[in-house]
């Protein structure tokens, strides 16, 4: 495309027929991109501007009108040629390159068309009217091309974005079949390389993207060597990401699926399995995405299935989950009690005074002396979590809900004991961490901490029971005096055991059973992820670890029981008490009993107020199966009414 400029030769006093012949020749020159004698291009202001022409002085007015019609085509051609010349440069990326190449084919047709007109002119009998007529259909075509190139230019688009624009233009041309065909052709050709890259990603997990156009981006920074040692928590989340602005519109709905397909392939390659999809079908641009969808779906199914097989067979996913359950959900009973026996002294200390290595050491002793099979034992460690359980829930639940109501001041500033902060941590290695991710891991930890603390409370109550055995030797006159204390202890024990039974046998076991049944029929990795999250979610919710409103009263109740235990264990039971110490003892017991009951009633009310169909209803039923508390409460109310009225 020339850009000379200069003033056109004058046509003053030239007769109209001569003018016409000269102008037709000039117009043909203009159409081929060079200046004529009487019609000259105006220099461009900016590279994307529309090309304007100047006419010679003295040109006939009607000729001018007709010439303008032809010059519209010349101007459109200029826009397209400039677009093609620019976008064929490397740094505009392969999609732009392809688009330019597709347009170039139309330009060759166009040049042939101009040459045809030229030879017609030479053979004579060729007027401006004929030229205008000849140009009409070509103008239509170039309008579309110029519109397309302007749209791309205006958006400064590249890669996937160009395809999106092209797709939109194609859709907007729905009414005009020939125009739509042109656009469709352009889009198809422009998307060819892009879709080849897409195929490589879908079928091999390879990103072939030399010009930063593709929708998936590899953010690998670490070398492969480091990967095997570091905890790849979140690594795969971050390694491959989708660049939203580069996703072509016609596959935007499947972006997530596309990402995962290639990611799974990469996961398997990282694990030393070279798996490539044998799939024959390739993605192809269609107006309504049908073809792409099928191919993507097929590739996705393949990679998901292969990864699932890898997880199940090579990495013993089920075994791992069972292992998690064994330790985190206290399936291994002897181990827990042994742990409490050996580590009791250590765990009673405040968490700040604990030595983690010593605890680890003791824990190793526990593992070796209990009846645990040694599978994966090296991956199990002890850890001390320095924030209390409610705080941990607050952090996880509220932060994950992105609820801004969470504030750090809300955290309790309480000194924790070893028992309260003790937890396991499991080294879940890649690729199993895909299923047991850090979020799930900390939820396992929360359930563990809760269960472990309840176990501790039960253990303390049992110790109380043990120490109370001395009362047997007391004289028949003395022993009835302890009855309120002992019966309170029994009630507490019942409560704790019911709570435990509820959590283990009514929540964890049935949910686990359901989960395992589902896992037998699982067909893709995503299903595994969903089922597992469902399982742990359900456990967390039904163990009352989801909402603090429910957990807080329960913790208070447990704390109250612990206080009672401490009190009893501190007081030495003797056969003969002085009247004075006796009164203080029974007064203390009375206080504990009152506190326990009021908290218990509150808790029961709270559980009762929840929806009936939830598992909590079962808890209520278990806690008060013989309506003991119900009647008792009525009695108490009567008493208090009596006392207030009296």
């Amino acid at each position: 495309d020339s850009d000379k400029g200069g003033s056109p030769l004058t046509l003053v006093k030239v007769p109209v027929p001569s003018q016409e012949q000269a102008i037709v020749a000039d117009l043909i020159n203009c159409l081929s991109g060079v200046d004529g004698h009487h019609i000259v291009a105006v220099p461009l202001e900016d590279p994307y501007a529309r090309r304007e022409f100047r006419f010679a002085v003295g040109m006939d007015k009607s000729l001018k009108e007709l010439a303008s019609k032809v010059l519209e085509l010349a101007s459109l051609y200029s826009t397209v040629v400039r677009f093609v010349e620019q976008k064929t440069e490397f740094h505009f990326g392969r999609v732009n390159n392809s688009l330019a190449a597709a347009m170039d084919e139309y330009i060759i047709d166009y040049l042939a068309f101009v040459a045809q007109n030229e030879s017609q002119l030479h053979s004579g009998n060729f007027g401006i009217q004929k030229l205008v007529f000849n140009c009409e259909s070509m103008t239509q075509l170039f309008r579309i091309l110029a519109h397309t190139s302007q749209t791309v230019n205006n958006n400064d688009a590249r890669g996937g974005r160009v395809l999106t624009l092209l797709h939109q233009i194609t859709l907007s041309m729905a009414g005009d079949k020939s125009a739509r065909d042109i656009c469709f052709n352009l889009t198809q050709k422009a998307s060819k390389r892009y879709l080849e890259s897409l195929d490589e990603w879908l079928l091999k997990g390879v990103i072939n993207d030399p010009f930063d156009e593709f929708m998936v981006e590899d953010n690998q920074v670490e070398t492969e060597g480091e990967l095997s040692t570091e905890n790849c928590d979140g690594y795969w989340e971050k390694r491959y990401t989708i660049r939203k602005d580069r996703v072509p519109l016609f596959i935007a709905d499947f972006a997530e699926k596309i990402l995962r397909t290639g990611k799974y392939l990469n996961v398997m390659q990282q694990c030393g399995k070279r798996i490539y999809s044998p799939q024959k079908s390739r993605t192809e641009y269609t107006l309504h995405g049908g073809k792409c969808e099928e191919v993507i779906e097929e590739a996705y199914q393949f990679s998901s299935k292969m990864l699932l097989e890898l997880l199940l067979h090579d990495y013993d996913l089920i075994g791992r989950l069972k292992w998690m359950k064994k330790f985190f959900l206290l399936e291994q009973g002897d181990f827990v009690s042994r742990c409490m026996d050996l580590c009791d002294e250590t765990l009673r200390k405040p968490v700040m005074d604990l030595e983690p290595t010593r605890l680890d050491f003791l824990f190793g002793l526990v593992l070796r002396t209990s009846n645990v099979d040694t599978l994966y034992l090296e991956d199990l460690h002890t850890t001390l979590i320095t924030c209390s359980l409610p705080d941990q829930i607050r952090k996880i639940v509220y932060v994950s809900n992105t609820d801004n109501s969470f504030q750090s001041e809300e955290l309790e500033d309480k000194e924790l004991t070893g028992y309260e902060s003790f937890a396991f941590s499991a080294d879940v290695k890649w690729p199993l961490s895909l299923v047991i991710n850090s979020h799930d891991h900390s939820r396992y930890q929360m359930i563990f901490r809760h269960l472990f603390f309840i176990k501790y409370v039960e253990r303390s109550l049992c110790q109380v029971w043990n120490s109370n055995k001395v009362a047997r030797r007391f004289s028949p006159r003395e022993s009835p005096l302890y009855r309120p204390a002992f019966s309170l202890r029994q009630r507490m024990l019942n409560f704790v055991r019911d709570l435990e039974y509820y959590m283990t046998s009514e929540v964890i076991e049935p949910n686990w059973h359901i989960f395992m049944e589902k896992m037998k029929k699982v067909s893709s990795v995503d299903d595994v992820l969903t089922y597992h999250t469902d399982f742990i979610d359900q456990c967390q919710r039904e163990c009352m670890l989801m909402v603090l409103e429910l957990l807080q009263p329960l913790r208070e109740l447990l704390d109250c029981i612990m206080d009672f235990c401490k009190f009893i264990l501190c007081t030495e039971l003797r056969g003969e008490e002085s009247e004075e110490s006796w009164t203080s003892f029974s007064g203390e017991v009375e206080k504990h009993s009152k506190k326990f009951h009021s908290l218990l009633f509150q808790f029961l009310d709270l559980v009762g107020s929840l929806e009936r169909d939830t598992a909590h209803a079962r808890l209520l039923l278990r806690m008060d199966f013989n309506s003991f508390y119900n009647t008792q409460r009525k009695g108490l109310q009567n008493v208090s009414e009596l006392s207030t009225t009296g």
Binding site: I28, D35, E118, R193, K204, P210, T357, R358
Partner: protein, 651 residues
């Protein structure tokens, strides 16, 4: 008028086109003046308006042609890098096609009649694509003229990535042609293990200076600058190891037949064209198979012919003190020699001791080959040192197997031996001391005045004993034994020599790390050395003490005997002189005892202080195993109660 001029120019268009065709070949004329010398044309002022614009557009083609020819002619026919030569000849072929087009144009021009003359516009249409093609060739020539080998292929591969299908069509043959020499170097490397690469175009380089000992790790390396962009690092490494295995098998063992061919490699190379090195392509599969097979074979050669397992086992038994009976016997045999000053020590006096130790223990049933390789080595001498400090065993390895044990590995073994030997000696000394204490205890019970000292001494000795036992357990079991079992597992699973080399060096480094011999644990070694020195001092003290009380005991015994004899003879034997003498002897004895007691207390205090420092350093060490060791050494928290610093949390 303008119209007339236009018609005029049409008549001369025939001549103009002739000149254009000449210009395509880079030859000037009356309109296209080529007097600039750089291939550009100056267009005569005679030509005006549209014709001038068309003409200048067409003249660019000639310029391009000129420039490309200039670049490719500058490449010498002989002696230029292979890939570049191949590329140049491919470009020449494509230019030849263009010449054919010009010839055709000329023929058309001759045939064109006056009724339907050719116009410049027509020529523009005809040359529209060829011009584009020439532009790309010019780009290629420009980009590649100073490059060679892998770098050139990278550039070409990059250019082929262009989105225009036509560009791909034009440039792919160039890439295929240019990569042919590269692939022939590759197949030579894969099938023979030799590098025929005089221009250093390949991504593997050989260092011919390297001695055979370091054949595996040093001789061949990746030349990153020549790695084509279509070959990933992993793939390049795979090629490197495969060729290395082949080279090893041919050069060191003569195992690969002369005319060996990797099945399918040639076909794969021929078919790879622009797809090059796809992750699941035939070439990749082919190389993977070759890699697996050759690695396996090299491994088998190493294991069976080189008896690798046997040598590793020997290393562990003798250099890492795995064979306890032998080490103990050696220590007993050589003790006398080793007590000498380092300067007085001779290898030839120690070798017989080694022989004795071998013959008297289970080591005699060891493989003959292994025993022949076992030797005594005296480390760098310094007159202040004793034989103990410079004594070392050494295990000589030669032949192909030596590449698993290059000099730096041997040094690691030597320093490990030194550390383990030292600890072993301490344990041995302490148990000897304990024994002599136990033996003399009964007799000495009579000397009531030294009771407290004996008690103090034996408390200290058992404290030291406990410490050394735990250290020995840690060193021999937790460090060496655990790492050894990991190494065994790794060797059983190894698929290539590299795996073994890697596992072995990891094995050594881990042991070095847990024996405090790495950079960041030097302070621990120092403290440990102090503790050992205290043990040696106490040992000396004990010997002194032993001698002292033995002479005293003997003296008293003799005295008693004399009394008895005198009594039997019913004589009053004790004179005043005797009494004085006795008094003096007792005083001297008690003085000596006091001196020993003072030294003992000093030593005990110093020792305990050092142990506490050691425990503290261990507890605050980032390595978790060492924190465990600290716990193990002080399991009942004896030292912890002595020192407040130890009870502070360390994490």
């Amino acid at each position: 008028s303008a119209v007339c001029r236009n018609l005029e120019s049409r008549y001369s268009q025939h001549d103009l086109i002739r000149e254009v065709i000449f210009a395509f070949n880079g030859i000037g004329g009356s309109v296209f003046k080529d007097d600039c010398g750089d291939g550009t044309f100056r267009i005569s002022q005679k030509l005006e308006g549209s014709l001038r614009q068309h003409a200048s557009h067409l003249a660019e083609i000639g310029t391009l042609n000129f420039k490309i020819r200039k670049i490719i002619d500058s490449v010498p026919h002989i002696g230029a890098p292979y890939c570049l030569t191949a590329l140049v000849s491919a470009i020449r072929d494509q230019l030849h096609e263009f010449s054919r087009l010009i010839t055709n144009l000329e023929a058309q021009l001759r045939q064109s009649s006056r009724e339907s003359p050719m116009s410049l516009l027509q020529i523009r249409i005809i040359t529209h694509q060829p011009k584009c093609h020439l532009q790309w060739l010019a780009t290629v020539a420009n980009e590649c003229k100073d490059k060679k080998g892998g770098a050139l292929l990278s550039t070409l591969h990059m250019l082929v990535q262009h989105g225009d299908p036509k560009v791909r069509e034009w440039l792919t043959p160039l890439l295929t042609a240019a990569s042919a020499p590269f692939y022939s170097i590759l197949s030579e490397w894969l099938e023979r293990g030799t590098l025929k690469d005089p221009h250093m175009e390949f991504f593997i380089s050989a260092d011919n200076e390297t001695i055979v000992n370091n054949f595996w790790q040093r001789k061949y390396s990746l030349r990153e600058s020549m790695r084509p962009s279509f070959i990933s690092q992993a793939q390049a490494n795979m090629v490197l190891t495969t060729g290395k295995s082949v080279a090893f098998l041919t050069q060191c063992c003569g195992k690969v037949p002369k005319d060996f061919k990797i099945p399918g490699l040639q076909e794969a190379i021929e078919n790879c064209s622009d797809k090059l090195w796809e992750v699941d392509g035939a070439l990749q599969v082919c190389i993977e198979v070759a890699h697996r097979d050759f690695s396996k074979e090299a491994l088998v050669v190493m294991m069976q012919d080189g008896k690798l397992a046997l040598h590793l086992q020997a290393m562990r038994r003798y250099m890492l003190l795995g064979s306890g009976d032998f080490i103990k016997s050696l220590m007993e045999c050589a003790a006398e020699e080793l007590n000498k000053k380092a300067g007085n020590l001779m290898t030839h006096t120690l070798t017989p001791k080694l022989e004795t130790a071998i013959r008297s223990t289970n080591a005699q049933y060891e493989d003959e080959d292994v025993l022949n390789r076992l030797d005594v080595k005296l480390l760098y001498m310094c007159n202040e040192e004793y034989g103990w400090d410079i004594f070392s065993l050494q295990y000589c390895i030669d032949g192909p197997i030596a590449m698993i044990f290059p000099p730096e590995v041997k040094v690691k073994y030597l320093s490990l031996f030194n550390a383990l030997w030292r600890a072993k000696r301490m344990e041995w000394l302490l148990s000897n001391m304990w024994r002599s204490q136990a033996i003399s205890a009964r007799e000495l019970r009579k000397m009531t005045e030294i009771g407290p000292l004996i008690r103090e001494l034996s408390v200290l000795i058992s404290e030291m004993n406990q410490f050394m036992r735990q250290m020995q357990y840690y060193l021999l079991f937790e460090c060496v034994e655990c790492q050894w079992s990991l190494l065994q597992a790794a060797i059983n699973q190894a698929a290539s020599l590299d795996d073994i080399i890697q596992a072995h060096s990891k094995f050594l480094d881990n042991i070095l790390k847990s024996c405090f011999l790495d950079e960041e644990s030097q302070h621990l070694t120092l403290i440990l050395r102090h503790i050992y020195n205290y043990i040696l001092d106490v040992c000396k003290l004990e010997a002194e003490f032993d001698k002292l009380i033995n002479t005293e005991f003997q003296r008293r015994k003799d005295l008693e005997k004399r009394y008895e004899q005198l009594e039997e003879a019913s004589m009053y034997g004790i004179t005043k002189d005797d009494e004085e003498k006795e008094k003096y002897a007792l005083k001297r004895f008690s003085n000596a005892i006091t001196k020993i007691q003072v030294t003992l207390v000093l030593n005990a205090d110093g020792y305990r202080e050092k142990v506490k420092t050691f425990l503290l350093a261990l507890a605050s060490h980032p390595n978790e195993d060492l924190q465990f060791l600290s716990l193990r050494l002080d399991f009942n928290e004896y030292y912890k109660t002595l020192d407040k610093r130890l009870s502070a949390p360390h994490t």
